[in-house]
Homo-oligomer: 333 residues x 2
Amino acid sequence: MVTRLSDVAARAGVSVKTVSNVINDYPHITSQTRAKVQAAIEELDYRPNVSARSLRKGRSDFIALAIPEMASPYFAELGAAISRAAKKRGITVLIDQTEGEAAAEKLVLDGMRGQLIDGIIFSPITTSPARIGETETAKPIVLLGERDAGGRLDRVAVDSVQASYDATTHLISLGRRRIAAIGVGGGAGTGSVRRKGYRKALKAAGIAHDPALELAGTGYHREDGAASMRELLALPEPPDAVFCFNDLLALGALRTLADAGLSVPDDVAVVGFDDIEDGRYHSPSLTTVAPDMEWLADHAVALLLDRIAGNGEAARRDLTVPHTLKIRESTGG
Amino acid sequence: MVTRLSDVAARAGVSVKTVSNVINDYPHITSQTRAKVQAAIEELDYRPNVSARSLRKGRSDFIALAIPEMASPYFAELGAAISRAAKKRGITVLIDQTEGEAAAEKLVLDGMRGQLIDGIIFSPITTSPARIGETETAKPIVLLGERDAGGRLDRVAVDSVQASYDATTHLISLGRRRIAAIGVGGGAGTGSVRRKGYRKALKAAGIAHDPALELAGTGYHREDGAASMRELLALPEPPDAVFCFNDLLALGALRTLADAGLSVPDDVAVVGFDDIEDGRYHSPSLTTVAPDMEWLADHAVALLLDRIAGNGEAARRDLTVPHTLKIRESTGG
DNA sequence: TGCGGTTTTTACAACGTTTACCGATTCTGG
DNA sequence: CCAGAATCGGTAAACGTTGTAAAAACCGCA
C-alpha cells in the first residue's frame, strides 16, 4: 500500500502542491492548512518517495564514503563517525568498499552511482593524488588522509608529520636510541609522510637514521606488523623501540614480541597511530597517536555539504584534525 | 555534463527505446544495433540515472543492512561481507546504524527510507521478535541472529545452542569444572540462547550449574567483559574457565586476567564467540566459535533477493550457518 | 462597495527512465 | 516473388515529486 502525495492531498482536501509545500517548509501557509495537512500525513503514515524527489530536485541527500575496507577497525570507526555526523544533518551515507583496487576507486570517482550521490568523502589508497585532482567529477569530493590532490580538492587530515614527530620524540624521551619504523612507504601516501616526521624527530635528537630500521612491509594489517617485527628482531642489532604507522601494525608487532618472550615496554617500546579500541584494551595497552575522530567526521561532512550547497567557487580548504598522543603501557605510561 | 538516454540515442542514431532495450537486455535486438548502442554508451560514458529508473521500475537494487553499530568488529566484518555478497549480484548495500535504539530500529522497519530500499537484512537488538513479526512491512525482511519473529520472517543464524554446547564441552574436556559464562541475558536474545547450550553441556557432563558463575553484564563490549571478569575473580571460589558469549567480552576478560597476573589458559581458560580478527592476533590467541561469515552473508543476500524477486508466498526459510570451534592458545590449543 | 496589494493555493509541466502498444522491417517457405 | 510470421524499433504515457507562473482568496482603506 503506497501512499502518495495525492492521497494525502485528497484526505486533507487541498491540492498536491500544498502538501508538498507543507513538507518543504514553504513559508506562506496558514497554520490551519498546515495542521490539516500534517494530520493527513500522520494518519496515512506518508513518507515521500526518495526517488521521485531526487529525480525532480537533482539532490538526493545521499553522500558516499569511499574507504578501502570496512572491516578494518579504523575505517569501521570512521564509517560510524561519518554516518553519525551525516545523520545529524539529515543526510545518509553510502559506504563504498574499494578494497584498495584502482578499478573500484576509479568507478567511485566517475561512476558516482548513477547520479544518486550528491558528493563523496574519499579515502584513497591506490589512486594517485594527481589522478584524483585530474578527474573532472560532476560532484564535489572531500579527500581524507595524507594524499594531496595537487591542491585542487578540499581535504581533512591529521598533521601526520607533526604527529609522527611527537610519537618519535616521545620514544626518544624515554631514552630509546634504536627506534624502528614500520609501515614506511614510497610515494606521497601515509607511509612516506609519517616517515618524514619520524626522521625529523631523530635528526632533532641527533640520532642518525638507520635504513635497516625502516620497514615498508606489504600492507597495514596485523600480519604485516607481525612480519616486520620478526625481521627487526632478526637484525644483528635489534631496535629498542618501534613506531608503527598504524595501530594494526603495532598490534601485530606486539604479538611477535610476545611470542619472542620480549617484554614491552622494557625490552622494546611500541607506539601506534589511530587509537582504535583494540589498542586501548590490549595487554599491554598501546601508546598511540589519537586523531579526534568526531572532529574529523564532523568537519568532513560539513565541508562536503557546503560544496554541495553550491559554494563551488570558494577557495579550497585544507583542514587539520587535532591529535593527541595517548601514552599507555606499551611505552610505560 | 549529464548524459541522458536521449543523448546516447542521438549518438547511436536510434530511438531512446532501443537504447533502453540494450541496457535491459531485451532479447530481440540485432547484434549490430546492440554494438552501435554499446559504443555510444562507452563514448559518452553514460550511466543510467538511478532515481529515474527506480521511480519507474519500483525497484532500486538497493538493500539496507540494519545493525546496532558499525564500529563493533563483528558487525564491521558482517557489513563488509554483506556488501561484497551484494555487489557480486549487482546490488548496493546501505548500512543503517540503529545504535540499539528501539526508535531507530522502528524507523528502519516502517520508514524503509522512503521506498528507496528493496528490502532489509536486519540484526535486531532491542526490538522484540514479536514486534518485528507484527509490523506489516511493505518490503521483505531477512532476520539475522537468534531472535525469531514468531516464525514469520526468513532468518539466517548460527545454531547457537549447539555452538555454545560445543564450546562449553571443549572446556570440560580440558578438565575444567568451574566454568563461568559471561553475557547471559534475559529474554529470547543471544544471551539466553547461548546460555541454554552452556547449561546443556554442563548437565551432560554431570556438573551442577552455579548461578554465581553466570554473569549478565550490561553490554557486549570489552569493558563489559572486563568488568564481569573482575566480579568473577572476586568470588570466594573463582572459575577455572570462562565462556564469553562474544569475542569482545572475551578480550575484555583476558585483559582483566592479565592485570590480575593470572595465566591463560593455565589458571583460567577462555573461549569466545564470533572469531573476529582481534582474537586471532591477541596474545594469547582466542579460542572461539567461528561462524562461516561468507556463507552467512551470501545466503542472507540470496534469500532476500529471492523474496524481492517476488517469491513472497513461498514458505518461510530458516537457515543455519555452519560453525566451527577454533581452538587456540586461550585454551591451550 | 470596490480597489490595489498581499498572501495563500492551484494547475501544469518538467526530471530521466521503462513499459504497453503498435507500426515497420526483415526473414521464411511455398 | 509474395503472404505471413517473426523480429525490431518508435511513440506516448506513466512513475511521484517540485518549480514556475498564474489564479484565487483575503486584507485594509478609501
